[in-house]
Structures are given as C-alpha cells and as structure tokens.
C-alpha cells in the first residue's frame, strides 16, 4: 500500500505548482488542475479504504496498524527520533475518505462560488496546502509528525480565513484564530515533550501498545501538584486538541473564522480541521483510558458543557454562518463527550465508536449545510437571515438539500445524524446519567435552532428583493456538491460502524436501543415543532419572547460575553499583571543589557578597528605574535 504516499504528494505538488506558477495561469485552468488533483487523491483514498477494510486490514478478526512507509527524519538520541511516515488503521483510513471527499466537493463548488475573485489561483494553492497538511496529520505515525502537520494546518487555515486580506475584519479573524489555536498548541507541545521525556518515544504504535503499558509504567510514581505526570501530559495534549476543536473556553476563534470564504468554512471549520482535536484524543485513546482516566472524565464534562453552551448561543444568532459555527462547536463537543464516556474493549468501546461515527456523518451534513448557506449567500449577497425569506421558491435545490441536512443534524431517522447521535446517547446513558440528559437537551436545542435557521431562510416572510438582485438557483457546479452531499447525509448512517471501528480494533455488534432512540426522536420533534410554530409563517412571537427573556437573551446574543471575558483577561490580567512587569524588565534590564552590549560592541569594535589597518607588515606581526602568545599561554599557564 505504498501508493498511499501519492495521496499526500498530489496535493503538495499541486500547492507548489499553483503557488509558484499559478499567477501565470488562467484562473479556471488553475481551478481545474486543483480539482483534478484532488479527485485523484480521493480515488486513491477510496481504493485504500476498500483495500484496507475489506482486504489486508483485518487479520484474525482484528484490524491491524499498517505502516507502509516510515522513514527516520531526525535522530536525536538512540531512542528518540522524529520519523515521517504513513500509518493506516481504521480511523486514519476513515479520515482519508472524509477529508478527500469533502475537499473534492469544496474544490468543485469553489469553481463557481469563487469565480471572478481576485486571487483565485492563490485560493486553490492554499486549498491544496490545507488538504496536504490535514492528510499528513491523520496519517502521522508519531506524535511529532502530527504536531508538524498540526501547525501546517493552522497556517493554511490562517491564510484561508484571511483570504480577503483587504478586509480588516478578515485579517483580525485570521489573527485571532491563529493566536488562540497557537496558544493552545503551546500546551500540546509541552505535553508532547513531557510524554516523550518519560516514554522515550514519539511513536503512536509504541505509546498505545499493550493497553498503553509503556506510558503507565514509565510515568509510574511521578507526580506534580497532586496529579500524576501522565495526567498532566495528556491534559496538556488535550489542550491543543481543545484549541483546534474549539472547546470551551477556547472556542472563541471559530465564529470569527467565518470571515473566510464560505467553502473554506465548509472544509476547514466544519468537516476536517476542527475535528483534529477529536481525532487526536481518539488516536491516543488507550493512553487516556489506561494512564489518565480522570482526564477522560474531564474531557467528557468539558465536551458536554460546550455542547449545551454553544447550542444556547446558536439560538439567538442572526448571521447564518455564525449559527452554523456554533452548531459545529456543539456537535464537535458531542464527539468529545462521547470519547470521554467511552470504555475499552468489546461493547464498552461504544463511545469511541460513536464519536468516530458522528465525526463521519457530521462531516458530510455539516459541509452540506455550509455549502447550502454559501449558495444562499451567493444569491442574496448577505449573511444575515433577516435579509432572507421565502427563498424556497427561488432556489429549490438548495432548499431541499438544506432541509435534508437539517433533518440529519436534528437526528430524525433515517438520516445519518440519527444513528450516530443515538450511539452517543447510548454510550452516555451507560456511563453517566447527567451527561446523558445534557446531551438530550442539546439535541433538542439543535433541532430547534437548525429549523429556526431553515425557516428563516427558505420560508417565513417574503423580503423585497430588488429586480436587479433577484435570488436565483446557483449553477450546477454548486448544486452538484449539494446533491451529492445530501445523498451521503441520507445514506452514511446506514453503515455498521462498529464492524470497522472500535478502540481495541476488534469489531463488535451494536443494535439500536429503541427506548433511548425514542426519547431522542421525541426531543428532536419537539424542537422542530416549536421552530415551525414560531418561524414557519414569520410571526412576531419570537421578538416578544426575546423581550420577555430580557437580560438572558442579550447575554446569549453576545455569546455570553466570552469574547469580552477573554479581552478582559488578556488586557487587564495578562497585559497589566504579567506583561507590564515583563515589559519593565525588558525595557530596563534586557534592553539595558542589550544596549550595554551594543555600546560595548561599538566601543570595542572601534577600539579594535585599528587592527584592520590595511598594513600587511602589521598583519604579519599579529600573526606571529598571536602564535607565540598562544604557545606561551599553553606552555606556561597550564590552562
């Protein structure tokens, strides 16, 4: 399966090609080259997936970790070295499929959506770079390779969010995204160093082998501030994951990241990059489970809190992309929570499986939602749902596909979201009732705000559109991905995921627990009904309700002032309390010593400039005198 390397090489070569020579190409040519390359990568991923899941992957009923390529890049000591390679196991192969599929759809869609934009070639170059980094991230054989690609993903996301670099808000958003995730990555790096210091390896296979016994044994007895070292390391690594996956309180960058072009949001901020944190925890799951179960519990609670929190905020937002952003945060948090409640081995590994299952289904329907939103934005030239209404009659394909995606995310059978969310609920039910009910509530809220969004855009009151800007259905290049993803949203739930993915890589059987499923469906239906009553006809009731809620409503609208809290923390606490003294130290001590050094440098360099007199007899004298002085020093000073 060495040809799996081609999946990585193709987008990288495309990036170089489009980045270096793109400006000489016609925009469409660049777009078509990029799309063709991505299609190639997608086809390769499908063959790999087929070959792996139905061929070489399974030996004696257990899925194997296959490492077709691994080469040692930097060797520091005998047992610590950074390798670059490809690791194929059920979750990485699944991710290859998800990434290449969504990326291909986004490539296609962008041909029409970004048509005529300045920097079209640059856009495709960065899309290729992003795909390359994300693919490299999921197939990483060791944690350091993952970190390298993790940062590359961050950089390419930064450049795509700030694609409209003449817009100040886009620049600010890209900076915010980069700084927040980079701050979280600091924790990731420290965690990696801590873990590798004790285990002497970066290798995933070694770290997770034999129920992570290496981590358990090597960190045994070591503790810091009452927590074991293993817990510290894994918690710090989780911090990196929380940054990328927008977990509370590091979620603040994701809503702002919607400043980027909408297809980018679909690819990066819905389907792929933001699930990197979930993937990271899943990748190291045995380490979490066996060496730091307390961290896993923390992940479960952070996940479920974020899910509820983001769902509440999503209800009041009026920018349709922000609604989707908060919905993404909420759904990813569910995946995290599912990992947190998971056990290990057999049916206990349901949470892990459910998390990956939800990741898989969510990628498609959330990409569909974003692309649908892009289609609407393309038609009405606004992000605000108050500018929209009754669009169903102008753009039926967008409307129907959006509707399917809403049903999927709300968890209505037989759409994909129902199955994956049901598994999460079952896993939570057997682990912790509090988490179970919290997830149930968030599922109801999800159904409500998604249909609020749907009705506000496609139904509700007719808005007056000027004759010039009459909304119209998007071109086929945009509707084809919508239809394709809608089909996936209908069908992907029918996969029997537990046959392929489980923490111990041994397939197990699952069945739908109809009591729990019934509760979930009931909650979803209630949410949808309420939304229908309030928004389908466009009544005044929502406004009245908002008024009666008063302060709570404003707080939600302002995302619970979390941005302001962070602002306060950075401005007043970090800047004043920490940075001010450091600044003083920097200005006076560091600058002082540097100025001193510069002064000494200047003085000494003008003092010795006489050395460079240009007179060769003097040079010769120094030459000989220097040798003699060295000889005397060595012989008599016994240094």
């Amino acid at each position: 399966m060495e040809y799996s390397l081609l999946i990585l090489i193709t987008p990288f070569v495309l990036f170089l090609l489009l980045g270096l020579t793109g400006h000489k190409m016609k925009p469409n040519v660049a777009g078509i080259i990029g799309t063709t390359g991505m299609a190639l990568a997608a086809i390769l991923s499908y063959t790999i997936a087929f070959q792996y899941f139905f061929g070489v992957g399974k030996v004696d009923g257990v899925f194997q970790q296959i490492i077709p390529i691994n080469f040692e890049w930097l060797r520091f000591t005998d047992n610590l070295h950074i390798d670059l390679g490809i690791l194929l196991d059920p979750i990485s192969v699944m991710m290859l499929v998800v990434i290449t599929t969504v990326s291909l759809m986004v490539h296609l869609y962008s041909l029409a959506y970004m048509h005529g934009e300045k920097g079209f070639q640059r856009y495709y170059a960065f899309l290729s770079l992003f795909s390359f980094s994300m693919l490299g991230l999921v197939v990483a054989t060791n944690i350091f390779q993952m970190y390298i690609f993790w940062e590359l993903v961050g950089v390419s996301s930064y450049s795509l969010i700030g694609f409209y670099y003449t817009k100040p808000s886009a620049v600010a958003a890209s900076k915010k995204a980069f700084i927040v995730t980079r701050f979280a990555d600091l924790g990731f790096l420290v965690g990696i160093l801590l873990l590798s210091f004790y285990t002497k390896t970066f290798d995933f296979a070694t770290l997770t082998a034999d129920n992570a016994s290496l981590v358990v044994n090597s960190t045994a007895g070591a503790s810091f501030l009452g927590l074991s070292v293993a817990a510290w390391a894994t918690a710090l690594i989780f911090m990196g994951g929380a940054g990328k996956s927008a977990m509370f309180p590091l979620h603040i960058w994701l809503p702002d990241a919607m400043e980027g072009p909408t297809p980018v949001s679909a690819l990066i901020h819905a389907a792929t990059m933001v699930v990197a944190g979930v993937y990271l925890v899943a990748r190291l799951f045995p380490v979490y489970f066996f060496s730091a179960p307390e961290v896993l519990t923390m992940i479960a609670y952070i996940g479920v809190f974020t899910a509820l929190f983001a769902a509440v905020i999503a209800i009041t937002q009026t920018d349709i992309k922000r609604v989707l952003a908060f919905s993404t945060i909420s759904q990813i948090a569910l995946m995290m929570a599912a990992l947190g409640v998971s056990g290990f081995g057999g049916h206990d590994g349901l949470g892990y499986m459910a998390s990956m299952f939800h990741l898989f289904t969510h990628a498609f329907f959330k990409a569909l939602l974003f692309l649908g939103a892009g289609s609407v934005i393309h038609a009405v030239h606004s992000n605000d749902m108050r500018d929209m209404g009754r669009l169903h009659k102008y753009m039926p394909i967008s409307s129907i596909t959006f509707f399917i995606a809403c049903l999927a995310i709300a968890g209505i059978p037989p759409f994909s979201g129902f199955f994956s969310k049901d598994e999460i609920l079952v896993a939570a039910f057997h682990h912790d009732k509090v988490i179970f009910y919290a997830i149930l509530v968030s599922a109801g809220l999800t159904a409500f705000y998604m249909f609020r969004l749907y009705f506000n855009i496609f139904w509700g009151k007719e808005k007056t559109y000027t004759e010039h800007h009459k909304p119209h259905e998007s071109p086929w290049l945009m509707t084809f991905p919508l239809v394709f993803l809608a089909i996936l949203s209908c069908t992907t739930g029918l996969f029997d995921f537990s046959e392929f993915i489980s923490p111990d890589k041994m397939p197990f059987a699952t069945h739908i627990d109809w009591t729990i499923a019934g509760m979930a469906i009931a909650v979803a239906v209630i949410g949808i009904t309420v939304a229908t009553i309030l928004y389908a006809k466009g009544s005044d009731k929502p406004a009245q309700m908002a008024k009666s809620l008063g302060r709570f409503y404003t707080a939600t609208l302002n995302k619970f002032y979390l941005d302001e809290v962070w602002m306060f923390i950075t401005q007043s606490v970090i800047f004043k309390m920490i940075c001010e003294p450091i600044r003083w130290f920097d200005r006076n001590v560091i600058d002082g010593s540097m100025n001193g050094l510069a002064w000494v440098t200047q003085k000494s360099s003008s003092a010795i400039k006489g050395l460079q007199s240009g007179q060769v007899q003097f040079y010769a004298w120094v030459f000989v005198a220097g040798s003699i002085v060295i000889a005397i020093l060595v012989l008599f000073c016994k240094v």
């Binding site: 440098t601 400039k609 460079q612 040079y619 000989v624 220097g626 060295i630």
Partner: protein, 499 residues
C-alpha cells in the same frame, strides 16, 4: 614504481585530465571555440563532479562497495586505502569531502561567466579555469595527505596560484593589492607551518601521520610544533588572530575569487585540519582542546563584531565567513565521529548558502559597475525580486533560521559539541548566533525596506550560468536540510575515519 597506486587517486587523475584538456583546448581551438570555452569548461567540470559522486550513488542505491573488478568497469571503482607508502590516503570520507569541494568549485565556475566575458578578461579566461583547477588539485592533496610533506605540498599548490587569482583584475589597484597581500601573508604562513612541522619531525623522527601518532607526547617541543603548524591552517581558515588578511583580500579580489576563497579554500583547510588533528594529535587532546576552545570563542566573536561595522558587502561576507569558521571549530573540538559528521555537513551547507549570496553579489556587481557597498542593494526587491529572495534565503541559511539547511547544520554542530560537555562554548556560540542575526538582517533591510538610491540597478536578468548556479544553491539550501538522510549518510562515512 607501482602505477596501480594511481588507482587510489581517481579524482585527482580525472581533474588533471580535465585541466590538461582545457589547456590544450584554450591554446589550439579556433575563435569560435573560444566563445564556447565557458560551456566546455563547465560541462567537463560537471562531468568530473558527477564522476566523483559515483561511489556514493552506487553505495546508496545499490549497496555496492565500489568493487567493480578490473577492466572497463574498473575505471568507476574507487578503492580506498593508503597509496605511495602512506603518503596519500584515500577513504570514503576523503572522496566525499573532495566532492563537496567539487560542487563548490562548479558553482563558482558557473558564476564567473559574466565577469570573464568582459573585454579586459576574456582573453585570459582559460587561465582562470586552469589556475583554479590547479589550486583545487592542491586542496585534494591537502585532504588526502598522509604525510606532513604531502600536506605542505598541497597547501602550497593551493596557495600560490590563489594569489594570481586574487590579482586577476591586475589593472585594478585593489585587486593587485589583494594579490600582493595574499602572497606575502601566505609566504609567512608557509614559513611558520614548516617551522612547526620541523619541530614535530625533530620530536618524533617521522613525517608520516600514522607513525607519528604513537610518538606524540605532551612535551614543549611537540606543543610548539603543533601550534605553529596549526597557525598555518588557521591562516587558511582565517581564524583570529591569523585572519587580518581576509577582509582586504576578499574586498579586493574579483567577486568570484572571493567566493572561491571563502568556500573552497576554507573548506579544504577545515578538512585537512580535522584529519590532522584527529589522526595525529589524538594523544594531546587536552592541549588542542584549550587552544581551539579559545580560538573558537574569539573567532566567532571578533568576526561578528567586525561584521557589524562593514559598509562593503564583500568585506561584510569576509567577516561573516570568519565567524562561520569559528563554528567549524565547534565540530573539530568535539573530537568524535559525530563532530566530524557535523563539521562536514556544516561545510556542505555553508557551500550552498555562501555561494548563493556570492552569486547574487556578482550578478548585481556586474550590472552596477562594480559597486559593492551594501547600500547598492537598497531597494533590490523592487527591481529584482527573485534575486533578492535568493539572497534572503542565503542570508537566513547562514544565520541558521529553520527550516533552511543552515539551521540544521548549526543544530548538529552544536549537538556534537554539547554531547562532549562543551556547554559554555555552545552557549557563547548561541549568543553569537543572535548577534549575527542582527547584521544578516541589515542586508535584508537594505533589499526590502530601504528606498533605492539614484543610479540603483534596474530590473535585469542574469545569464544562464549564474541562474543555474543560483537554482542549484536554492535547491541545496532547502533540500539538504530537509533530507536528513544526507546527514545520516555522512555519519556512516565518518566512522571509518577514526582509527
């Protein structure tokens, strides 16, 4: 005499064939052939370079250890061992080091076209190539020497023609001055070296490296001999306090010659020094440790201090190359196979980084009539973005910014020294890296930020030769750092050396 000894000198023989052919070609070819001289010379030298790489390629790809038997294929096998009774030593490492010198020379030769085709030099183009190749032959002998006399012959063969090269633009006052200064100091240095060698001979009764090793003891006679011998190579490496000629010669010599001096000549001296020290003076490690420690610190520091003040870009690179020589000493001081690997790798990376910079300098200098002030580079980014990007990469690589090769070469050489407990030395070197960043950035500032002055260079394209060399350099600056297998490969060669 046993002529099979020449089999150990494949690269030397190949080089001699190239320059004898070029000599005849230069003398007997037609006017038209003269115009093609550059092409012929560069192609032949490129073939010679590739020929030298054969053993590495065969080894890396097919795992064949050069033993292709006798007959036609035998031409391509590179036997290793002692030749001429131990006078000449050929090992995997020496072959590789000579290849580094070959690459560097090839890059320099590619960069000369613009300068040599000018009216006042075109008639002596042949001379330039032939003299350069003679010095290169001398450097081969330095690297492969197994006897102090051989080493001395190599050093002289490398030094005397270099003075001709420095004075190649003999009607320019500065060039003539550079040649004169170089020959004077070089003569002095030869004298000092021979003086040192005679002490060593007196103390041990032999000139052969292999016989001397056992006789070396820490007595004043050996120590004095070592120090004076070391001074001779220190002159070539331009270590403080033997460095004073560097700035004047680098500034005055034609740019391509400066490039050759700063890279090839220095690299050969570093290789010769590490072999001599490792093979002969292993017993008195305590003595040379202290000397090299001290010289490394003052070389790096003084090189940096002077570089800050420079207004002329060639003088600037003279001092930058002095401080780079200090880093080379860090690899030598480690005294291990790891140190030798790191040092060889450092020189390899330095070749590409420094020659990229000199390629840009000579391109610009040819356009603006020989103005080499740093301020002549003001606003270069606006007029020639590609050249300034190459310069930026070169300078960043020299300063050691990741992910360029220069970062990795510094990293490995610091690792090698650190592993031998040279913590303070590494710390001082690190501090100096920070200082060096300051003055390297001055060049970036000139190119990208400063407004261009009156009469600055306009947009232009360099000739194909220079372009080729710059592209090769850029590939080297990126690829050698990322492809860690190169470092690992040098590592496999180094272990054979320390006996």
């Amino acid at each position: 005499m046993d002529f099979s000894n020449f089999l150990y000198m494949k690269q030397e023989v190949s080089l001699m064939i190239v320059f004898i052919f070029l000599f005849l070609y230069d003398v007997f070819c037609s006017e038209k052939g003269k115009q093609r001289f550059q092409l012929v010379a560069c192609t032949l030298f490129a073939i010679h370079t590739i020929f030298g790489f054969l053993p590495h390629i065969l080894d890396a790809i097919f795992g064949i250890k050069y033993n292709l038997g006798i007959g036609i294929l035998g031409c391509f096998s590179f036997p290793t061992g002692d030749a001429f009774g131990g006078m000449f030593i050929s090992s995997d490492m020496t072959i590789f080091m000579k290849n580094i010198l070959n690459i560097a020379t090839l890059l320099v030769l590619l960069q000369t076209n613009n300068w040599l085709k000018a009216d006042d030099t075109v008639h002596k183009r042949g001379e330039f190539f032939i003299i350069t190749m003679v010095t290169l032959l001398g450097m081969y002998l330095m690297v492969s020497a197994g006897n102090f006399m051989m080493l001395f012959i190599g050093m002289e063969t490398a030094a005397l023609p270099l003075a001709c090269l420095a004075a190649f633009d003999k009607y320019k006052e500065k060039s003539a001055e550079a040649g004169a200064k170089f020959i004077l100091i070089s003569a002095l240095s030869s004298g000092v070296t021979l003086f040192g060698m005679s002490f060593l001979y007196g103390a041990t009764g032999t000139m052969y490296f292999s016989d001397m090793t056992a006789q070396i003891m820490s007595n004043p006679m050996v120590i004095i001999g070592f120090i004076f011998f070391f001074a001779g190579l220190g002159f070539k490496l331009s270590l403080v306090p033997f460095h004073l000629w560097t700035a004047d010669v680098y500034e005055g010599a034609p740019t391509s010659v400066t490039a050759y001096l700063s890279v090839v000549s220095k690299g050969a001296a570093a290789f010769a020094l590490i072999f001599a020290i490792y093979k002969v003076f292993g017993n008195i490690g305590i003595v040379w440790h202290h000397i090299i420690w001290f010289l490394a610190v003052i070389t790096i520091t003084l090189g940096n201090l002077f570089a800050i003040r420079q207004k002329d870009i060639k003088r600037f690179f003279a001092f930058s190359s002095i401080s780079q020589a200090g880093y080379i000493l860090l690899g030598i001081i480690a005294g291990t196979a790891q140190g030798m690997t790191a040092m060889t790798y450092f020189v390899l990376v330095y070749v590409f980084s420094n020659l990229a910079a000199f390629g840009v300098i000579s391109a610009v200098e040819n356009k603006n009539g020989g103005d080499t002030r740093i301020s002549a580079f003001n606003g270069l980014y606006k007029s020639n973005p590609k050249l300034s990007l190459v310069m930026m990469l070169a300078v960043f690589s020299l300063a050691g910014i990741p992910p360029l090769a220069g970062f990795f070469s510094k990293f490995w050489i610091f690792m090698a020294a650190f592993a031998q407990g040279q913590h303070v030395l590494v710390f001082i070197a690190l501090l100096n890296t920070v200082i060096s960043l300051y003055y390297y950035l001055l060049i970036i500032k000139a190119m990208f930020i400063n407004e261009s002055e009156e009469g600055a260079v306009q947009r232009f394209t360099t000739d194909g030769y220079n372009k080729t060399s710059l592209v090769l350099c850029v590939i080297g600056i990126f690829a050698i750092g990322i492809l860690s297998c190169i470092y690992a490969y040098i590592g496999t060669l180094s272990f054979g050396v320390i006996r």
